[in-house]
Structure formats: structure tokens, C-alpha cells
Amino acid sequence: MNPLSEEILTVENLKKFFVTKQGTVRAVDNISFSIKEGETCGLVGESGSGKTTVAHTIVGIYEPTEGRVSFKGQSISKVFSQRPKNLKKDIRIVFQDPGSSLNPRRSIKQILEVPITVHRTYSNKDRLGRVMELLTMVELPPEEYLYKSPQAIGGGEKQMVAIARALATNPSFVVLDEPTSALDVSVQAKIINLLMHLQKNLNLTYLFITHDLSLMRNIASRVAIMYLGKICEVASTVDFFQNPFHPYTKMLLSSIPTVSDDEEDLKPQEVISRGEIPSPVNVPPGCSFHLRCPEKMEICSQVDPTMVNIREGHVVRCHLWQGTGNV
């Protein structure tokens, strides 16, 4: 991973609101980040923090309310149907639940043929060959799986088919929306290894969405933490886990259940977590985390902090570090 490599995706001041009967849900509220070519960017947050909304906006399922998303210099702040076809081919997504993202009435062959047919990347004659190649790529023997239906295979295998479908059009950027959260650890390990292997071979860039910080530690090159539609902290993985600055990050890191004493030593001093995540319909004024924050100050309930660049590549949004340039 070359640190000088180009930025492939930039998100600037992205906002996505949903109007409901109960009020406006500020699912994503003014976030900015960028992803460099060939890296794995981890987007971490608890449920309801807006991770999936970000993913869906990038892929084009939602149109942003405000802000700009650009991919390889081209603006993609449009819905899927208005995007040029070559862009659709380049950005693909793997969904969270493999059980509901594959059509149960089609065979695996039919499922994998759809993107190839739509994008006309291969002639009708070569299509079957490509499907076989894709299945081999995700380590499923084609002769065994080609004519099976998704119901007949296990959860891990379904997710592998979903990955193969995402790769069918030779994309350069793949959004992985919690691809392993519904699976057991031994299956998760297999899928993660496969994904890392594919990234190296096909030169892919990943936006990896998850709630599992220990998983991020092992695969991401950069991590961003989201809380209630806003990004709290962005840093390179090593820096992030060694020197977390935001109180929420510390709370999150100290809450992770671990399996060895070595890991226990790496966790920050225990921050007792309390309170619940407020509803995104009425976000508290000021910093959205102040209701649960152990280091709350006067100002936190009044003014929303801005992003501060603490050191190279490490950005924090918290009043504690406001005005401290380089630490």
C-alpha cells in the first residue's frame, strides 16, 4: 500500500436526511473523508450510527441531501439510475445478510450471470466460462455449486457467492457492508482471508463497514468512527488503537470483550459505559455524545465541535482537543 497513492473516493460534507412522521432523521450529518487507492478503509459504529446510509449513498441507492461524493474525479452525487454505466460497473457492494440478498428461486449460475449480461463485459459464448472463473476465485468448486440454489448452501458459502457477484464486473472499488456479522468466527476467518487475498490479486479498494473493532485492527489501513451520523475520529489503524483521543473511541475500545491477556493490556483504561444511543430524530444539541461522555464540559451541550487535525492523518471531533494543533 503506497502512501502516495491517489485518492479514489472523496466525500465532502455529505448529509442524508430522511423525513418521517416523527420528524427528520439526520442519518448522516455533515461527514467528510476520503479513501486512497488500494487501501481498506474501515467505517465503524454502533447500530443506528449511519454507517449503512453512507454505504448506500456511495453506491447510489440514496441520493445525498447535501454535499458531494466524487469517484476518480467524477461527481457521483446522483442516484444509481442517473449514473453512467461504467461507474456502476466500477463500484459494487456486498450486503450484510447473504440470506436475503440472493434470490432464492434462481440458481447460483443465474445469479452470477445477471451482472455479466447487464454490463455486456463478456460475450454470450464466454459467459459460462466467466461464471466458472468467478466461482473458482471465491474458492467454491464450480462443478459442485453451479446449479445449486442459495437455500441449499451454508451462510458462509452464500456470502462467497455474493462476493463473486460483486466481482463479476471487474470493479475497482467494493463496499463491504458488514459482510461477516451474521457468521460464526471460524467462517468469518475464511471469508476475511479470501477478501484480503482478492484485494491483493485484483488491486481492489475496500470500504469495510463493521461494528467489530478487533476485526478492523487486523485488516484496515485506516479507521473512521461514526456516532449518530457524525464522524468522531479518523486515524491510521496503528495510531488509532495506540492513541485514541475521542472519549467515545476510548469507551468503545474498553468495552470490547477480548480472549487473551495481551489484548487486555492494549485496551485503554476502562471507561465505564453508560446511557443509550439517543434517537437520530432528536439529536441532542451541541456534541451528540455529551449525554454519555465521562469527560463532559460546559461547552459540550451548547456548541458542536469541529474536526481538528491532531497530527498527520489523525482527526478528532471533540472539545477536549479543540485548539490544540499538534500534540
Binding site: 454502533e46 447500530s47 451454508g154 451462510g155 458462509g156 460464526d184 468466527v185 471460524s186 467462517v187 468469518q188 476467518a189 475464511k190 476475511i192 482471508n193 461494528h211 467489530d212 473493532l213 478487533s214 476485526l215 485492527r217 487486523n218 485488516i219 489503524t237 496503528v238 488503537f241 469507551m251 468503545l252 474498553s254 468495552s255 470490547i256 470483550p257 477480548t258 480472549v259 487473551s260 491477556d261 495481551d262 489484548e263 492494549l266 485496551k267 465505564i272 459505559s273 453508560r274 446511557g275 443509550e276 444511543i277
Partner: protein, 327 residues
Amino acid sequence: MIPLLEIRDLHVRFKIFEGELKVLNGVDMVIGEGEKVGLVGETGCGKTTTMKSVLHVLPIPPAKISGGEILYRGKDILKMKPGEIRRLRKGEMSAIFQDPLAALNPVFTVGHQLRDVIKYSLITQGRENLSKEEISAQSITVLKETGMPDSERILSNYPIQLSGGMRQRVCISEALSAAAKLLMADEPTTNLDVTIQAQILRQLNELVEKRRISILLISHSLGVVRKVTERVYIMYAGNVVETARTKDLFADPLHPYTKALLKSVPKLTGEGISQGIRGRIPNYLNPPSGCRFHPRCDHAMPMCEGERPAAFIVGDNHTVACFLYKR
């Protein structure tokens, strides 16, 4: 240690159209009085079936307990009359089920359900003449104990109006107000966020210690079990493969399955992720003969296929069901 619950060689089968699913294949387990025990295994290994057999809530048929005994204070639950079992469930042992929304009745308020539980469990304990006010007061107390904010208001809410963490707290307070001796918690924190999970586990732990209740914590998360329990059972495909003190097991796992499972967990130390376990969990219709793990095991020997390994004692309180440790 005085054993409170003893499961001996429990076999459970399920009758389906194609034949018989041989799910539990001789489970042995002991829970001492006031002991915190964990039960870990992957999806479909029979953890919940074990718990349901103890509570006598398995659907019979299709399920069939084909062998073994479950001794509660020396008395076999499987041979008890329905009335005796009901009394046991009302006053002695209770359970927290996996999905709190499915466990709560959607058409009654939380208060209604909680008061019912308290009323009937107290009647069983021989305190019949309780006034309505006393029961209400008691319900607020138990709810407060779990760290629920604003308990008085919550009592008049319906389950659907509460967040996941709050629902889980309601289930915990229901279970705790009935359990005098044994609490079985089936994945109590699986669909919660890590910060909320940390809160719930902390409170559960405090309450159990304060009242000296034995707890059986069922989970697929090794980290959660390590945090809460004193002793742990590892289960694979209907068999207990290893049991030890939690500290010993995590420091020195012996069974090939336990080792592989622990290696698959992503760690905060960032040492990368192992290859996972090859193959997948066996089909219970025709499970492998002998040791059920042998088709996936790297150390499989010819004898593994022939007979089921007994639990070999390898240390203080540490047994492993694997021929590698046969003396």
C-alpha cells in the same frame, strides 16, 4: 462445590421428514451452587437445545430425549410430574432468551408482564397475600437494579416502544425476579452494541453475585464468556469437547477445535487472522461416526473415526474429549 444441576449423557433427537436428527450426542455438564458457567459453541451446535431440555420446554414431538438424565439437586427433571416442573420454573430456575422482542408479549405493557412474573413466583415461594402496591413497588425495584433509567415510566410502555438494550433489561429483571437458584442466559447480548453489551454484562454479573445465583451463560462469543464466567464448556456438534476453568482454557486450550476456534477470533494485537476451520458443521441426519470433529480435524487418527472419545482428565478441573490426550 455442591452440584446444583447435573446433566449426564444427554441425548436429544429431532424427528423430521427425512429421518432423525441426532443433535445432542451425550452431553455431560455440572453447574455448582453459586457458580458462573459458560457454554460456548458455534451456530447449530446444540447450546439452546441443551438449555431447553433443562427447562423442559423442548417441543416433544418432534424432539425426543432418547437418553440420559438431568439432575436438579439430585432429582431427575426428566422424570418429574408437570406440576413439579412448573414449580421449579416459577421459583427455582429461569431463562433469558436470545431475542428480547420475541420473548416479550407485544400486546401487554412491560409492567403488566413483570408484575405477573413477580406475583406467580412469589406465590410459589409461599408468600401469597401480597397487595398490588407491594408487587408494583417490587417491579420498580427489580427494574432499577438492572440500571434501567426512568423505571416508573417504562412500566407503562409496550415492548415495541423500547430500545434493544432496554428490552433486554426487562427480560433480565423478569428472569431475576423468578430465579432463586439458577439463571440460564441464552446469548443475552448478541444483538446489542458493544458499549451496551458491556453495561448489561456488568449489571448481570453484579446481580448474580449479590444474590448468589448460579448462571449458565450461553454464547458464541468467546470474549463475553471470558469476561463473566469462572468455568467454561466448549461444545461442538452436540458434544462437549472441552471443559476447564475459564482462565486455564483461554491460556492453554487443548482440543483441536478449541484451538482453531480461538485462533479464528480477530484480536486487538493485530496479529492477523487464521485460516478458519475447513469444512462445515456436520449434517445431523448422518453425523460422522466416532468423534464428530474428525472430518475437519488436522490431527485426525484412524481411531477417531471408530469410537467417540471419552472425556480424558488432563488437569485440575480440565477435561478434553480427544484421543490425543489419552493416557
